[in-house]
Symmetry: C2
DNA sequence: TCCATATTTCAATAATACTTGAATTGTCAA
DNA sequence: TTGACAATTCAAGTATTATTGAAATATGGA
């Protein structure tokens, strides 16, 4: 993953609403959630939610697909794992440190 | 880890200079690096670097100790692992998904 | 077609974060 | 105790990001 994308992803997650939205989608799994459901569950105004969903989408952390008049947002686990991996790359120059294990949530 | 600390940590990492500094310290391992060395390696003005080191310290991602007239900064691996773990908690409600593996870099 | 619902875009304001140079603090060595 | 070096704090200006209400777009059903 390139540095700019990493920064974009971290920025996306570094905000209360977006962090909650992202975690809700991580928990929801492949089923995903609509903005309506997210807004109700987390008590967020539609405009505000839309703004933050766009930020997360733009970072590549979540992906929308249309289903009739609903949109369904889902977490992109590959993207998340790439992000987590970036932060620990070359940890301790490999010296005093086990090879970094693969990032979490392998099967997603 | 509490939400506010997670956000603080993600915000700290969501910035080009701080991300580079943090990764440099992750690579450096237990030896750590001084602001002087960091500033030279990454070509950052002292004032700017100091500001960003404080942000990372305040987030708990790095820890300074004094050694004579130098400070030595080191990455706090436990903190980093707690952060990574937070992002994948309860992934897919455990359903279609392996138990999240422990975060990276176990022995640090 | 026309209306209602789901969601987004726009524009303005409010809040927060980044950079820089000058001044300050702490430590060592002569 | 004075000078030099390492690093930080302060204060100011600039830039980026978040929030809100009003208006717009897209879809499905009467």
């Amino acid at each position: 993953m390139e540095e700019q994308k990493v920064i974009r992803s971290l920025s996306a997650l570094a905000q209360e609403i977006r962090l909650r939205v992202f975690r809700a989608l991580v928990v929801a799994g492949p089923e995903g959630m609509t903005p309506g459901a997210l807004g109700e569950a987390l008590d967020i105004a539609p405009t505000t939610l839309s703004f933050h969903l766009k930020e997360l989408s733009h970072a590549g952390l979540i992906v929308p697909t249309r289903d009739g008049r609903h949109l369904i947002y889902r977490a992109d686990y590959a993207q998340m794992n790439a992000l987590l991996g970036y932060l620990t790359e070359n940890c301790c120059r490999g010296a005093s440190c086990a090879e970094p294990t693969a990032p979490v949530c392998k099967t997603c």
